[in-house]
């Protein structure tokens, strides 16, 4: 086909618009004509294929390591057996450590006691009919870690309500897995760790409670997930606490670029304005191009009594790279300007006097630190899994513990119907914050009004760094 033959007339005649504008309009339509929605079946295929590749990659890595070890042993044998002098006495050697030391030193009994107190399960070996948890298309580390956690709980802390936990891992299609779980009365809940909360929630359609450990924009089924939308609101409340009416509060929205890069939405500004209604609030957006010293000067905020550094308050391994830079820049700027306002932040390195607001999602939250982190460190096998125990498996194990706690709370597996677990989840206040799909269990009140719909978190921890240590401050109640 020749493009110069015949009048193709791709452009609408428009005497008022320059040619380039008309072309641009047409080209955008040409681009739009090629788009199509993501097919529902595609995600399942991608996850299955991706998991297969991950296993292949792991097998290759293991094979290479094994080959290196075998080669090393062969070389060692070669050099030690040739020319060996049997008359020389053997030299004492000290075995070099091959396993990293645990980062939490709590002993097993302490950990077991903490789990028993938290979940309500009895200390000791689990017995009786299993309590099943459906696991939907898990990644390899998730599967390994959850299995290790279940084994540990079954052996030491009475599984779930004294009965052994059985993980029902399903790798079929979402709808098949959902039907399978729904049909099995022994399955009390479905767990999912990172990818498909919305689709699984839809497939389950409320027939079983779903706990997904990564946040999402809500789910279409009955589902629970940790949320972190509340931290910025809590920061504003803390700023209100440490200032007086009429004081100048500077809010540096360091998450703006992040929001802009994904949706174009600035998501901090309107919330804190309403919370800090009787303060003189200045809101600025941090920029990579501008030093925070200039940001403060340009905003006319040298006199600020408090500065809220509003950051994406996700866990320490996922925090936006810019956030760390913003923390350090702010500390440097305050030194340069000789300012000493109250600083309220999240996820920053400690600075004298600064407040840390911590919704509990991240692994440094006190309860998770003493509980889930200790458990994941202590559990056999977990320390050897790539990415564990310091990575996100803490949260997954924490999620399992939270669901076990709820099962115990409602009176055991026989009473753990979806409806009963729903009610229990609505009343759940932590330490792991949970949200509930289409259900709206968010607390009411001026602080909570901006809380993500469905969020069930209520209390937000606050700490202040004083004399080289974090001091607990009264937590913020979002329902106040």
């Amino acid at each position: 086909m020749s493009m110069k033959q015949g009048p193709l007339s791709p452009w609408e005649p428009d005497a008022d618009a320059p040619e380039a504008v008309v072309f641009d309009r047409f080209a955008r339509s040409a681009g739009a004509s090629l788009r199509s929605e993501a097919p529902e079946s595609g995600l399942t295929t991608i996850v299955r294929e991706g998991n297969r590749k991950k296993v292949q990659r792991l097998a290759t890595e293991v094979g290479v390591i094994a080959a290196l070890i075998v080669s090393g042993i062969a070389l060692f044998e070669h050099f030690t057996t040739s020319g060996r002098d049997v008359n020389i006495a053997p030299v004492d050697t000290i075995p070099s450590p091959t396993v990293a030391a645990p980062i939490v030193s709590a002993d097993d009994a302490t950990i077991d006691r903490w789990i028993a107190d938290y979940t309500g399960s009895p200390i000791g070996r689990a017995a009786g009919d299993p309590v099943k948890f459906g696991i939907m298309m898990p990644s390899l580390p998730y599967s390994q870690d959850l299995s290790a956690a279940a084994n540990y709980l079954n052996e030491h802390v009475g599984g779930a309500a004294g009965r052994p936990i059985e993980l029902n891992i399903c790798t079929a299609s979402l709808s098949e897995c959902a039907d399978q779980f729904a049909a099995d009365p022994a399955v009390v809940a479905v767990l999912e760790n990172q990818w498909m909360g919305e689709s699984i929630g839809a497939a389950l359609a409320g027939r079983k409670p779903l706990h997904t450990t990564h946040s999402s924009n809500g789910t279409t089924g009955v589902a629970y997930y940790p949320t972190y939308f509340e931290t910025v609101n809590a920061m504003a409340v803390q700023a209100e606490k440490v200032t007086a009416p009429g004081d100048h509060v500077l809010v540096i929205d360091a998450a703006d670029e992040r929001g802009d890069s994904t949706t174009g939405t600035v998501f901090v500004t309107p919330d804190v304005t309403s919370i800090l209604a009787n303060r003189d609030v200045t809101i600025v957006h941090a920029s990579r191009e501008e030093a925070i010293t200039d940001t403060i000067r340009n905003a006319g905020s040298i006199d600020a009594s408090a500065i809220v550094l509003a950051l994406p308050p996700v866990d320490e391994f996922q925090i936006h790279p810019f956030a760390r830079t913003a923390c350090d820049d702010l500390a440097t700027a305050l030194d340069a300007l000789s300012l000493r306002p109250a600083v309220i932040a999240s996820g920053c390195e400690p600075h004298e006097g600064w407040y840390k607001v911590d919704v509990g999602l991240n692994e440094t939250a006190p309860d998770l630190q003493s509980g889930a982190l200790a458990i994941t460190t202590a559990m056999p096998g977990l320390g050897n899994v790539k990415g564990s125990p310091q990575n996100r498996q803490n949260r997954e194990v924490g999620a399992l513990l939270a669901v076990i706690r709820l099962v115990n709370q409602v009176g055991g597996p026989a009473q753990a119907t979806p409806a009963a677990l729903d009610r229990a989840m609505h009343e759940f206040t932590g330490p792991l914050p949970l949200g509930a799909g289409v259900l709206n269990c968010a607390p009411t009140g001026k602080v909570a009004e901006r809380v993500q719909p469905g969020s069930c978190v209520r209390f937000v921890d606050v700490h202040q760094f004083v004399n080289d240590r974090w001091i607990d401050q009264p937590p913020i109640d979002l329902a106040e």
Binding site: S199, S216, A255, F267
Partner: protein
């Protein structure tokens, strides 16, 4: 442009599923534009998404995981393009076939055929800008050239395409 509702922190701590739903339409448009074939384009997008899934622990920490996907996809399309050009030459010697493109109207098909005749960089720039619905800054970041180069590529391509299409 995506019509997503409020999705802060969506990637760093968000889900792969969200990335998949958000980026798929633009990725498939870019792949179709560059390959000229719907099925090949969809296959390449799927391969890209599998790679993203396998590396999700790393990619989700990026500012723009979608940019990473586009870069991987455009490399895959370039390889595919080379393979297909070789195959097309072979087929052309065997029989006279006209490649077909499903879906868009004839004027859009003609437009993308003309785009595919552009040199490599302008072809990529035009595709990412119009099919991928990316900003000039994003395109510059993905193609790894200054923004000024993207602007001049777009301007020159515009002239060529308008001439080519008989405006």
């Amino acid at each position: 442009m995506s019509n997503d509702t409020f999705l802060p922190y969506v990637y760093n701590g968000g889900s792969f599923e969200q990335l998949y739903r958000r980026e798929y339409p633009n990725l498939v448009a870019v792949a179709r534009a560059l390959t000229g074939d719907r099925h090949d384009g969809e296959d390449l997008v799927q391969d890209t998404m599998v790679k993203a899934f396998v590396n999700w622990d790393r990619i989700r920490r990026y500012d723009k995981p979608g940019g990473w996907c586009l870069r991987v996809l455009t490399h895959a399309c370039r390889d595919h393009w080379r393979r297909r050009r070789t195959r097309a030459r072979f087929l052309a010697r065997q029989r006279n076939t006209e490649p077909s493109v499903e879906g868009p109207g004839v004027e859009f098909v003609a437009f993308w055929q003309a785009v595919r005749r552009l040199p490599q960089r302008p072809r990529l720039v035009v595709t990412l800008y119009y099919a991928g619905d990316r900003s000039i800054a994003d395109v510059a970041s993905i193609v790894k050239v200054p923004e000024g180069t993207v602007k001049s590529d777009l301007a020159r391509a515009r002239v060529v395409l308008m001439t080519e299409l008989g405006q």
